[in-house]
Each structure stands twice: as C-alpha cells, then as structure tokens.
Amino acid sequence: MLLKVNNIHKSFDGNLVLKGISLEVNKGDVIAILGPSGSGKTTLLRCINFLERADDGELIFDDVKHQLNKISHREISAIRKKTAFVFQNYNLFLNKTVLDNVTEGLIIARKMDKKLAREKAIKALEKVGMADRLDSYPIQLSGGQQQRVAIARALATDPEIIYFDEPTSALDPELIGEVLNVMKDLANDGMTMLVVTHEMNFARNVSNKVIFMDNGQIIEENTSKGFFENPQEERAKAFVQGIIEQRAIKKEGEK
C-alpha cells in the first residue's frame, strides 16, 4: 500500500464539501475518480496534496501516518517531493522555457546537479513527445502541448504517485487524444495514478479501479470493469449513462 487516506473532512465557510472520504492506493494502481460537478473531486485531490488543509482525517504515505489538520510544513514538503500534480489548466511557469519548467523542480527543489537534471528532463520530455520544443515558452504552445510538458514536469521528479485533476477538460476536443495517450503510456509503465476525469474511455480502458463520488462522499468503489459493466449504485448508473449520452450529442453536433 502506497497511500491511504482515512475519513477526510473539509468544509468551505460552513459548507461541508468532503464528508469523510477514505481510500487506498496500491503501487501501480490507476484509479479514476468520477462524479458530477461539485461533488468534491478536486477538493479531495487538493487535500491529499495539501493545497487545501483538510479539517479532519489522516493520511498514510509510505507507511508513515499524518494527521491532516495538523501536519507540519516539513512533513508536507517531504511528501510533496514524492508526489506530483497535474492541473486542469497546466499551470506551467510562464517565465520559463519548456526545459526549465521541467528542471526547476529538480535543480531548485531537489538540488540536483544541472547536467543530470537536464538529462532527466529531456528524457521526460521525450516520453511526452515534447523534446523538440525545449526552448519554447508556454504561451507558444497549444493546450495539449502545455499539458504534456506539465506531465513531463511531474514525471521528471520520479514521483511515487501522480495526481491528475481533469487533465483534459480544458483542451479542445482534437487535443485530448495526445494527452490521454501519454497518460496511457504512463499507466502501462506501471506509474501509480489518481485521476479525476470525465473521460469515460480512459476510466474504462486504462484505469483498474473507479471511485465514484457524489455530494462529498464516495458512493461506489469498484474495479473499472465492474463499474462500467455492472454498477452497483443507481446514481453511478445514471451518471455513466448521462456521460455517454452527452458524448453522443456532442459528436452529433460536430457533424
């Protein structure tokens, strides 16, 4: 077991957004977190990576237990060095080139030797097909390219797990595929991933587990096969059906 969270609670201004979430991630797991808008998926990921401070709950990472509401900066920074986060809107460093975006976490945060960092960064950028744009700045890239650089930035730090928050939701439809392919490659390489997504094909074909959230709670936890072929909960069923229909309508509209 790589990561376990128990009973996370989080509220914003008295509005309870996470109502006691628990989940477990094993090494090599690719877990898709699904659920309607506002169900708390982003908040969950942000609490796990301390971008938000949870009100209650504990997190066990690499067999070390932490209380989420009183975890120290030192503990946070130790865990963050072993994790990575990919954002919906990429959040590349706009004043840095593609290469520097990737080396920043190595040279500055991990004090890695510059040459070594560069080699590692180039390897990661090759992996996502962006090694030919080392000197470009983020604004010179398409959304899909930026997101691939963001994935390389995550990858280069050799994380034990990568969190993805809707990595393709900000992309034009024709750019989604290139990002999903990169994520699929990572999954095949055995990378542990926790992925909030609305991409049902990814959840069905790439992830091995699915967590379905609604209203701040986990409604269903299942293998991805089980979830799509035989969902246990009515709400999950309705949700899957809804997404498939939306897709069909969109496709129809594009024709």
Binding site: N49, R80, F87, N91, E104, I108, A109, R110, Y137, A154
Partner: protein
Amino acid sequence: MSERIWEILKNAFFRILIPGIKVTIPLAVLSFAFAFIIALAVALVQFANVKGLKQLSRFYVWIIRGTPVLVQLYIVFFGLPKIGITLTAFPAAVIVFSINEGAYMSESLRASLESVPHGQIEAGYCVGMSYLQIMRRIVLPQALRIAFPSLGNALISLVKETSMAATITVVEMFRAAQQVNSIYIEPLWLYTEAAFMYLMFCTVLTWLQRWGEKKLNAYGGVK
C-alpha cells in the same frame, strides 16, 4: 525673439542644465532606487499576507497617499529640526521622495504580483519548491515584467516632481532657473527653457522605457 533674449537663454543654458545633471537626475534616480526597495518590501508583505506587517504597510500607504508631497517636504525639512532631527536639503528631499514614491510604487507592484496567474504558485509547491523559491524564481520575475511600464512612468514623474525640492532650498534645475531669472527677470523665457530641459530628460527616459519593454518582450514568456 530679440538679440538680448537669445543671449540670456544661451547664458542660462548651462546654468540650468548643470544643476539638472548634477542634482535633478541624482535626486530622481536615488529616490527611485530607494522607493523601489521600499515598494518591493511593502508589496511583498501584503502579497504574502504577513500578519502585522501587512497592516503596517496599508497604514503607510494610506498616510503617504493621503497627504501632499509638498507638505511632506516641509515637515521633514522645516519641521523635524524642531525635535532635533536636522537634515540638509538634499538628503531630506531624497528621503521624502523615496517614501512618497515608494507608497505609489508599492501599489503597482502589488497589483502586478496579484496579476501573476496564481496556479503557478501551486504548481511550484507541487514540484517541491518552497514559498521563497517560488516567489524569487517564478512570481517576482513575472510581476516585475508586468510592472515595468508603470515603474518607468514612476521614474518619469519623479524627475518632474523633484522640482518641488526647490521649495526646501535644493538647487536643482528649477531653482537654478529661478536664480537665473532673479538676475534677468525674463520668467516666460527662462522657465520655458527649464521646461524644455525637463522635456528632454523625460524624452530620453521614455526612449529607454520603450527599449526596455521591447527587450523584455523579445525575451519571450509572459504576455
């Protein structure tokens, strides 16, 4: 224009220009440099939400922006000696202009800091950087680039503002013009000549500002 006026203007030229170069420019540049340091500190503690210092910063900006610089000059130069703090005119002017301009500049720096897309800070945390590293390497460079035009404008207004130091006996360009005028009594021509020199200084600064902006843009990156 009569022969006589032409002679006066020629005579006055260097007597106005030299104090401009020797006093106006150093006064503006020094004040600008100190103001920048003050502004950076004041903007950063507000941006980083440092308890106590943030409130203090707001207080400082409130006081300074709510009072005329001329009055501030008088308080420091004529007022402070009454409580035993006597400054000569030039340092007094530098202090007042630094503190005054610092308050305005801190507001534009703060706005620039706020306008750097926030997600990059979180991305910095997620790759393991500390807050200070993120500020120094990601946020500040972008904020300064955004602030560059308004910093340039601040320097240009400061050059003109230094003329107020004439009122506390600093012999800068304007006071030099006054002195020349007291000999020839040709205020229209002599003050126009002084105005022309301010214009030249400011024109050069405007060129520098444009050049700097081009350089920054060529360097790519932020819109």
